[in-house]
Amino acid sequence: MAKTADQYFDDLRETRVWRSIFRSGTGASTLKRALAIQQNVFLHLFSTKVRTRMLSFSATWYLGTLTLGTFFILVATGIPLMLYYHPSVPQAYYDTKDLQFVVSSGLFLRNLHRWSAHAMVFLVFAHMFKVFYRGAYRTPREFNWVIGVILLLITLLLSYTGYLLPWDQLAYWAITVGSNIASAVPLIGNKIHFLLLGGNSVNANALLRFYVLHCMILPLTAIFFVAIHFWRIRKDGGLYAQSSEPAVLRSRPVASEKEAQ
């Protein structure tokens, strides 16, 4: 009898090499499957069990996963872009030009990064609206909503800092306007403005600052908070589904109704 693809895969997982790398063994039992998730450094952030219903498109529209996907694309394209880019005033603009003119598939790389960044901002908002209108931010998930808002801010900051790096007129004036908005903060506005730009106007210091923020500080912070975000999903009882909420919570009237009573 011919083996199925699953059987070949099971055989592979029985080999000594596989077993030496992955601690969980084979087997279709719930325990084994749960172990496979729980004992993996990356996967253990997620719930060991997910309801099949929650994996359907309609439940989440996959917005969180898609956001993560764009983030991966951004990291994967951002690293090669860093190889072709100098964050210096005389060089930055010509480096972005050279991506177009001489780097093999450089324009594709740059455009992929750019469009993925736009997509990520859009998806993050969409994700937030979906969570909000489904009420998935409610107890016990309030804190994960807060983490989400922090991630939204980081995403916007990543988008904003990346905007300066091509060092063209659009970049220069967008950051000039944006940083002037920051200086409208009461009392410490000018200090923030100075801190952000490393000076009183957009110049070489601002370029360097934005480069470091965009390529190191913000991505690392994002990864840190994404990890917490995922871990909290598990801790807060898995992906939110209205039917899964405890009956107490489900029957609890909303505030306005309560007041009306």
């Binding site: 030009k97 003119f101 594709f108």
Partner: protein, 681 residues
């Protein structure tokens, strides 16, 4: 229809495995577009085309060996050049491709620089880093420089070369026009070396204008200067009748009399009706002044004003005084002080006053000026910046009257307002502004010049050279212009040279005109007797040129004074003053020189010694050279003419000392016959 769509959806995305597969394939294809786009890039296409083109040529092997595939670039970090133009323009350096006329394979014309010395965009502008045709030539982004049209290409030479070059006639003409037409009187042009362009149009002072011309002429002139003289450098301010009336009223009212600028003559003009014309000819007035002849051609020099209708302009009493001594009315004039006697003045002024144009003033009827008109005229004179060019008593020369043009060649297109239908490029804007300044706004005060299209292109070329790069170039790359000196000869002879306006035509120690020979080393070159004789009765040395040097009727003492000064001061240090000339007895040497002249060096190609047989019309006639030039000068000239006169077309034949000596002996023996007649006299 709906059924068909549903079944297709089921087929492609019916279950997760199908959906995953279809999405993966679509994604794979879209990713494959990137390397494919890279592979079908324009520069690759042109390089394939080049290889195909050279394949069947006889010099295919050489060309193939010179060919480098891939993106090519000229990288000059110190001047910020990254030019990848040669990725498509592959045959740029291949002289053997001269027969190829199609771009991008045409070889570059021969220029004085190596092609990779400065790259492409330094001269042609455009975006050097680009590797696509559209991006390289007509960049879509406003702050980039599109490619410079070929007719303005010499402007790029002017970025480094601040002086005039033999290979850039358009640029030289444009720069000259900026000075000649007084553009720089209103527009400040600060050059990268910190100096400013000086005007050379010498506009007359208007402080004593009433002594010189009637008000009617001023009115007609203000209305249309070119109607009086086609060559006038005064532009047309397109004044209304009332404005021209008021300005003329103000100028007359503002004019003060000047002692000695008018004269009444007792002498009668010569009775011979042709005497005036012949005196005009003998005095070589036409060397500087032009006249429009019956055929409409302008004949004569452009140093002084055109005289076609001078009889309608000047008052007779003023003209008499002017011809007697022009320096009384205008101490700085370029006109020489001819030593005319009263009879000659009368004859010449009668001739000049006959040059009238009845149409010019026939329609001008001016009522006596009112104080309001004069006041309004004064205001107009200030508004139009007349005092930027002309000296006018009581009106200060305005500062920064018009926009500074020191960086006009880098003006950003976003700062320009174009006319409808005009192409949005800087050269077109500048040319349009010169062609019709008031078209941009009737409120502009810039006047209308009567430039030809080629003159407009020349001025545009000169202005485009005034750009950011020309100011930021490393000093090692710039070629400064020869500094204009303010050399002033000293003493009595110096005064005499000023009186005779020698510098209007001759250049000495870096100052002066370019019509006549440079006299900086004249003292080393000529013999005293010849020079004195030349002052008394000048002639031309070259058969191909018409004589331009006027006879000033100088006295013997003046001629001797000048000759002494020139012989003493204008000496070239490299001339050996102790040079022992070959004696008259050295017949052998003279004969050897004659053989060298006609044989080895074939000097008769350009010069004439035997008037009957020689046909050289390029260089000076040498029949009298032995009584004109010094032997020491001749010897040095044979050895290295360029050292004595840089830029002379006399070739340097690298002569041995013996040959130079023999030729000198031969030339010194060419004393002609004229000097003997002079001695008799």
């Amino acid at each position: 229809m709906k059924h068909w769509a549903t079944s297709l959806w089921q087929k492609l995305f019916g279950d997760s495995v199908r959906a995953f597969g279809v999405v993966s394939i679509v994604f794979l294809f879209s990713i494959a577009i990137a390397p494919a786009k890279n592979h079908f890039s324009e520069w690759r296409h042109y390089q394939h085309g080049y290889l195909k083109m050279i394949r069947n040529r006889s010099d295919a092997n050489t060309l193939q060996r010179h060919f480098d595939g891939g993106i090519q670039q000229i990288w000059l970090p110190e001047i910020g050049v990254v030019d990848r133009c040669t990725s498509c323009h592959v045959g740029m350096k291949e002289g053997t491709l001269r027969d190829v006329s199609s771009q991008p394979y045409r070889p570059h014309p021969v220029i004085p620089h190596k092609l990779d010395q400065f790259g492409c965009t330094m001269c042609h502008r455009g975006q050097g880093a680009a590797t696509t045709v559209a991006e390289a030539h007509n960049s879509t982004l406003a702050w980039e420089q599109p490619i410079l049209p070929a007719k303005y290409i010499e402007s790029s030479c002017g970025e480094c070369h601040r002086g005039s070059l033999p290979g850039t006639p358009v640029l030289n003409q444009g720069r000259k026009l900026l000075s000649r037409y007084g553009c720089v009187n209103c527009h400040l042009v600060r050059l990268p070396d910190g100096t400013t362009i000086k005007a050379t149009d010498a506009p007359p002072s208007l402080s004593h204008i009433a002594d010189k011309t009637p008000r009617e002429w001023i009115y007609a002139w203000l209305k249309d200067p070119q109607a009086y003289a086609a060559t006038s450098s005064m532009p047309n301010f397109q004044l209304s009748d009332a404005d021209a009336r008021d300005i003329s009223a103000f100028l007359i009212a503002n004019s003060t009399p000047l002692a000695g600028d008018t004269a009444t003559l007792s002498a009668k003009p010569s009775s011979d009706p042709a005497a005036g014309a012949s005196l005009y000819g003998e005095s070589f007035c036409a060397s500087c002044h032009a006249v429009t002849n019956a055929a409409g051609n302008v004949v004569g020099g452009d140093v002084g004003p055109e005289l076609t209708r001078v009889g309608s302009k000047v008052k007779p009493e003023w003209l008499h005084a002017w011809l007697q001594n022009p320096r009384r009315y205008d101490p700085g004039t370029g006109m020489p002080h001819y030593r005319f006697n009263d009879r000659e003045v009368a004859t010449l002024s009668t001739f000049l006053l006959g040059k009238t144009d009845s149409d010019l003033l026939s329609n001008v009827h001016l009522d006596p000026a009112t104080p309001e008109q004069i006041a309004h005229g004064k205001r107009l004179v200030s508004d139009y910046g007349c005092a930027s060019c002309h000296e006018i008593a009581g009106i200060k020369k305005p500062e920064n009257f018009a926009p500074e043009l020191s960086r006009i060649g880098s003006k950003s297109i976003t700062q320009l307002i174009f006319l409808p239908g005009m192409s949005h490029t800087l050269p077109d804007y500048i040319a349009g502004k010169i062609k019709q300044p008031r078209a941009f706004s009737p409120a502009l005060r810039m006047p209308q010049y009567s430039f030809t299209t080629s003159q407009i292109d020349a001025v545009t070329t000169a202005l485009l050279a005034l750009n950011d790069r020309s100011t930021s170039l490393p000093p090692s790359l710039t070629v400064p212009a020869a500094a204009e000196s303010n050399y002033q000869p000293a003493g009595k002879a110096g005064k005499l040279m000023a009186d005779l306006a020698c510098f209007s035509c001759h250049r000495i120690n870096g100052r002066g005109g370019d019509m006549a020979p440079d006299l900086t080393w004249e003292g080393s070159s000529v013999q005293r007797e010849w020079l004195v004789q030349f002052f008394k009765n000048p002639g031309t040395l070259r058969p191909a040129l018409i004589r331009r040097m006027p006879r000033f009727n100088v006295s013997d003492s003046e001629a001797n004074e000048l000759a002494d000064y020139i012989l003493t001061v204008y000496q070239n240090p490299i001339i050996d003053r102790d040079f022992v000339p070959p004696g008259d007895d050295s017949q052998g040497e003279i004969e050897l020189g004659r053989q060298l002249f006609y044989g080895k060096y074939s000097c008769q190609g350009c010069h004439i010694v035997e008037t009957k047989t020689d046909k050289g019309y390029i260089g000076p006639t040498l029949t009298h050279v032995g009584s004109r030039l010094t032997a020491a000068w001749l010897y040095q000239w044979m050895k290295n003419p360029q050292a004595l006169r840089p830029g002379t077309i006399e070739p340097n034949r690298a002569m041995s000392d013996e040959d130079a000596r023999a030729l000198t002996a031969f030339l010194v023996s060419q004393k002609g016959v004229a000097p003997k007649e002079v001695e008799k006299k």
